[in-house]
Symmetry: C3
Subunit: 245 residues, 3 copies
């Protein structure tokens, strides 16, 4: 059983985040809310997302798996006006999700979840932690995209840096600790990442003003931020690009 | 003789409607105003448009045929700012239409109307009638375009429905009679239509808040709406797509 | 030595003007400010631009040549928000220009200026002069682009005209002397110009409300306008297209 009403903007946050990695995904619903784990086809990045029942206008579900084609959900979201609530109901007999928005009903075939394995979130020990404004990251990404296809993220007790190094030009975003919302770092750590993955994820953040990042030396980065007006959470892991020189 | 001044937005309404069906068209002018009948090349849809002399800022014409290239008129409309009045004058000697907007003069060659036959509007007996908000139709079109290339329109004493049926997904727009401005229907009627024609027509309606539709069983739909601030009228006919099953 | 701070919008004016003609250019800096002369590859148009030190927020330079890739400067300008000041500093050791905007640093390789010859501005005796609003020229360009790829500019004691002549259609922009800010013309002069060059230049004017034009008979047009809030000046020369008939 699955019946829920949710603000279009909350559903959009969820879809925007997931569709940076996958086209189809398995939603796990239970009495407490929904959760999703998705890994991109190249196994470079993972997202672990949860949305409490309190993030919904109304919510009523037993343990239930729903295989969603994210492009179809985007089609329905494009019908919603600001403030619209989308009504979702699982039709068990026909294995369809029935979505209502305004006077429109969309009956959506679900995707077979049999082949979607459950993803385990690795346990990482990342020594540095910082909280940073999304807008600053976006500026750093925009600037770096002009010179390189990868970036180095550095955290030290002094602050945070994002660096893109091209053949002739380079770009630096530097934020001293006074420009960060939070900084925990005993020594300098540095890892390199593919810029497109990092950029797609940060660009998918539509409401959270800041994110918390965890970093190590040539280790994955973990990015955490809130969705659903604080009633949901995203953890995003991105594998490092190991420098060979 | 043909001399007229018309608000750019009124001329735009006329051009937007006609250009859903044809690139070139014959305008018939007389003392009372102008009228146009156009049929698309595939003979699937027809428009019958009239604009009274009162829709113009000034108007002075004898019986006159003008063959217009609608793309050229759109070029002139793009020069107009909000509130601009376009000055039109037929130059008989050179067979050109002279258009003024701001400090610009465009001398436009007219299209030969000799080969443009006069279109007869068929007399149809359509038992159901309803008046519906354009915005609702637009939502239904947007939603249907995601799943199908044709739609079924149904009218019954209970209300109106637009349905798109895809291979796996379906879309319904349902409006009970309380959500319609007007409904006259003794029994249920239903016809199917090509979605692209229907969509292009409804999207071309820029000022009328609602349209009146006449429907039958596997019969054309007639759509009527006002242009020119109520001083003009469009009747649009679209042939049904007969279901073969 | 070259160190300067400049409002992003002022740097953008300079880049917009120059990039209508060239991709790379040589900036000449000295104690008084900067100047640039650029000729397009086909030698049809020339720009002579200067920006006083007073146009900068701060300025400190010896005689210095800087070879700029304009696309790279545009990349940095896209990072700037309204009101942002861009910090420029020449790193002599590495032959790079270091640009700061917000918390971003871009280290930009400079272009070799050895092959860039110094351009001489020809001395022209152009008998007619007028000052005209840029918005009127833009309208005339927009209208002319629909019918032709060249335009005739005419000045007479009565006023100014821009004419585009196509195979079937023609466009005129006519401004009597009362619609011009200034007019000096003893007799009628007329020259034809390639519309794309003229259009690109006029479209690159982002802040000046009007330009001063100098015209002759089958002679180049000289266009002058201000940049940098009146602390800079652009002179633009465009060769005529000689009519052969």
């Amino acid at each position: 059983m699955f019946e829920a009403k949710v603000k279009a903007e909350v559903l959009k946050e969820l879809v925007d985040v997931l569709s940076t990695l996958v086209d189809e995904t398995k939603i796990n619903a239970n009495k407490e809310g929904i959760s999703v784990r998705a890994v991109d086809p190249a196994h470079v990045a993972m997202v672990d997302l949860s949305l409490e029942r309190a993030a919904f206008e109304s919510y009523n579900a037993d343990d239930q798996e729903l295989g969603l084609d994210l492009d179809k959900v985007k089609e329905v979201l494009r019908l919603a006006k600001t403030g619209d609530v989308i009504d979702l109901k699982y039709d068990e007999d026909k294995n369809k999700l029935i979505l209502h928005v305004g006077n429109i009903t969309r009956r959506m075939a679900l995707v077979d979840t049999a082949g979607m394995s459950d993803t385990k979130v690795p346990n990482l020990n990342l020594p540095a932690k910082l909280t940073i404004r999304v807008e600053e990251l976006r500026q750093g990404i925009r600037a770096s995209e002009n010179v390189s296809d990868h970036i180095a993220l550095t955290v030290s007790p002094e602050g945070f840096a994002m660096q893109g190094e091209g053949d002739t030009d380079s770009v630096d975003l530097k934020l001293g600790k006074d420009l960060l919302d939070e900084l925990e770092s005993k020594e300098q750590v540095r890892s390199m990442f593919p810029l497109d993955y990092f950029a797609n994820m940060i660009k998918a953040i539509t409401t959270a003003p800041s994110v918390t990042m965890y970093l190590g030396n040539d280790y994955p980065v973990k990015i955490e931020f809130q969705i659903g007006g604080g009633k949901g959470k995203v953890k995003y892991l991105l594998a490092p690009r190991i420098e060979s020189d």
